[in-house]
């Protein structure tokens, strides 16, 4: 008898709680656009934050809400953007491909090492101790903080201690920009060709003493480039973004050190070969 009463009581309790839950479900129902889930599934799912939002779902919410365009997801590339745009029936938006470029070419073969560093192997740790072991205060330390930080395995350290960015794999997420204690990475449009691979504020002999490929601030590139394309700012030629369409390899021809380069795609192509050989 006792067991029957217990079973009946529990069954009754189940029915009661089910009724409460069911009522709550109706009362507190929040309608969510089913397209958000669909778009989230189309996105790469890397949650890298390159779009400036905290993860892919947040991106999907904004895209469905019409606040941003699918093309803002640099990781997915044109295929994903096209798929999302087609699904939602909206414009793809800006699809300009962007990549990370290293603004230093001072590998161990060309740059002077002022001291031996024996501490914890991290650029940031080395940089806290007197700015690092290199003669040049501004240059790449080559201890691979960027390689470690890269979510997409797009960065590999070369034999001369420079990180080489794989253009195919780079998604412009900006992790390397945050990781580098010397601020040597810049996210820029992949089509930009004219790049100054040096950030040293030193000039002339002083700069050359620390690195053979340093910018000596001679300003020949500024003179050779079409008017207004380049200007000297604190000893470094800087491109005027309004005149970007005028960029030309003429500016690199008289550079005495090769600090300013005309890139036909890959940065440091000869160093990248190593990885492919291995």
């Amino acid at each position: 008898m006792g067991s029957v009463a217990a079973i009946a009581f529990l069954a009754g309790l189940c029915v009661l709680l089910a009724a409460v839950l069911s009522a709550a479900h109706r009362a507190f129902y929040v309608w969510e656009d089913p397209r958000i889930d669909a778009v989230t599934d189309m996105l790469p799912g890397a949650n890298c934050g390159a779009c400036g939002l905290p993860g892919c779902r947040a991106f999907a919410e904004r895209v469905v809400g019409g606040e941003i365009q699918p093309g803002q997801c640099t990781v997915g590339g044109p295929d994903t953007a096209g798929q999302v745009a087609g699904f939602l029936g909206i414009e793809t938006g800006s699809l300009e491909r962007r990549v990370a470029r290293l603004l230093c070419a001072g590998g161990t073969d060309v740059a002077h090492h002022a001291a031996a560093y024996e501490g914890y192997s991290s650029c940031r740790a080395a940089a806290t101790i007197g700015g690092g072991f290199k003669g040049c205060t501004f240059g790449c330390l080559g201890l691979a903080d960027c390689e470690v930080s890269c979510t997409f395995d797009a960065i590999k350290m070369s034999s001369n201690g420079l990180p080489v960015v794989d253009l195919e794999a780079c998604t412009a997420c900006g992790d390397c920009v945050d990781a580098c204690p010397k601020d040597l990475f810049e996210i820029m449009p992949a089509r930009r060709r004219l790049i100054v691979q040096c950030r040293s504020l030193l000039e002339g002999e002083e700069a050359l003493a620390e690195c053979r490929v340093a910018c000596t601030a001679c300003a020949r590139c500024v003179a050779d480039a079409p008017e207004g394309l380049l200007t000297m700012e604190r000893g470094i030629p800087v491109m005027n973004l309004d005149r970007e369409d005028r960029e030309t390899s003429l500016a690199t021809l008289r550079c005495p050190t090769g600090a300013i380069v005309w890139l036909e795609g890959q940065q440091f192509p000869e160093l990248r070969e190593e990885h492919h050989a291995v």
């Binding site: 914890y120 991290s122 700015g131 470690v148 945050d178």
Partner: protein
């Protein structure tokens, strides 16, 4: 019975002190170098603003750079000569920082163009603080925080106690000890001035039992009517850290993220106090400081009176050069000192010592796994858990480290010192703190932008 004098702070470590190398060497003046390089950022806060231009003649003691804001400091010429240039130069931090370069006038007798600070007995508190600011005084213990800012408590706060920091807990260094012994009159004058400037009811001089003879001398020379107590603590690192010393002297804990003034205390290094005393006694602004040049790597360890701006190379030459097996040169002590990579970096206001270590002391150690012995927990003077923090740092979970209060870490390196597994704890914490600070700055910038 020095050990019975007072309870010291809890936790901390006992590194070998190695002070005997220069302990009994009187301070001697280094010859004026031919060129002096004076970085405009020798202190915490805004860089100084030059008031001279290349080609100007300057006299020893003359103002050459004015403060660039409230938290900033003035610079005076440490020798008579001609300004050669104002431009980027190597700095002990490893950065290129704008500096004033002065060529010494070799014919000059280097007579001081003295300040006229007046008589502090008749000056108001504000006038004394203004004089300290005019003398370009900063904390000489190493952090180089502008002294006049410390002497101006925020609205509604009052420094009941004033502590003179003569703990000098870093091994090897002796500059504070020599100042106590040789400049006792200036120290006492400085204490009098600062007691008046702060309006404090009592001053303490905190020192360690390896400097007990200096404490005895100071006790003898102190006028009996002055409310000063000289305390001698067990030698322990990091006793010279402001908050540790307050704990030792007053048994008060300054809460994390707060300043000593929140516990009604102001702490100043004994070198700063002696400097301020010296300004009132002799009219000398902060243009030179006592530097212990020591370590197994230098031929003649000495205690030197060095004009600010003297290059490291000049100091090395004065001390007979370095041994060939010298491996590392540090500005500061072995626990928190900063390794240098150029010999043309100048001695600055905050440089308390220059340490030369050889292959014997600098050895690469292999890192092993953490065995959870928790020696680091017992050592940490701010009660963090370095073991846990180290594990988080190794996995690069930097944001989780915030929950374990990483920002309270003062990088004293006690944890790395005691770790039997040679884990580079403090090194990793510095990396983590740097990244977290940058991240916070980025987020702030983003908030401002939106």
């Amino acid at each position: 019975m020095s050990w019975a004098s007072a309870r010291t702070f809890r936790h901390g470590v006992h590194p070998g002190d190695f002070k005997e190398l220069t302990r009994n060497l009187p301070v001697e003046r280094v010859a004026f170098p031919d060129v002096l390089t004076l970085p405009l950022s020798q202190h915490l806060g805004a860089p100084s603003v030059p008031v001279v231009s290349p080609g100007d003649c300057v006299r020893r003691g003359q103002l050459i750079a004015d403060s660039g804001g409230y938290v900033s400091s003035r610079l005076h010429a440490p020798c008579s000569g001609t300004v050669r240039s104002v431009g980027p130069a190597h700095h002990a931090s490893g950065k290129l920082v704008d500096a004033i370069t002065i060529d010494r006038d070799r014919a000059s007798a280097q007579k001081l163009q003295a300040m006229r600070p007046g008589d502090w007995r008749t000056q108001s508190r504000e006038e004394i603080v203004a004089q300290v600011a005019a003398g370009g005084f900063v904390g000489l213990g190493g952090a180089a925080f502008p002294t006049h800012v410390k002497l101006t408590p925020p609205e509604g706060k009052h420094a009941r106690f004033f502590i003179v920091n003569a703990a000098e807990c870093e091994p090897y260094l002796n500059s504070d000890y020599r100042i106590l012994l040789e400049r006792t009159d200036a120290v006492i004058e400085g204490i009098k001035v600062l007691l008046k400037a702060l309006g404090s009811e009592k001053a303490f001089v905190g020192t360690e039992d390896n400097k007990a003879d200096a404490a005895t001398l100071l006790r003898e020379r102190l006028p009996p009517d002055l409310p000063v107590e000289v305390l001698v603590f067990e030698t322990k690192y990091p006793q010279g850290a402001e908050k540790m010393l307050i704990d030792a002297v007053l048994h008060r804990e300054v809460p994390a993220g707060r300043l000593p003034i929140d516990a009604h205390v102001v702490v100043n290094n004994v070198g700063t106090v002696a400097g301020i005393g010296n300004m009132y006694l002799r009219g000398e602004p902060l243009i030179e400081r006592v530097v212990t040049v020591t370590g197994p790597g230098i031929r003649d360890p000495r205690n030197l009176l060095v004009p600010v701006g003297t290059s490291l190379q000049h100091v090395i030459d004065h001390c007979g050069g370095i041994h060939p097996e010298t491996r590392q040169i540090l500005f500061g002590g072995p626990m928190m000192g900063q390794a240098q990579r150029f010999l043309d970096v100048p001695v600055m206001k905050g440089t308390s010592g220059i340490l030369f270590l050889t292959d014997q002391e600098v050895v690469e150690r292999q890192e092993y796994a953490c065995i959870k012995c928790l020696r680091c927990v017992d050592a940490c003077p701010v009660y963090l858990n370095p073991s846990r923090l180290g594990a988080l740092a190794k996995s690069r979970l930097y944001e989780d480290m915030l929950d374990h209060h990483i920002m309270n870490c003062m990088e004293c390196a006690s944890c790395s010192f005691v770790c039997p597994s040679n884990i580079p704890l403090v090194q990793r914490f510095r990396v983590a703190k740097g990244l977290l600070k940058e991240q916070a700055a980025r987020e702030r910038a983003r908030e401002v932008a939106t």
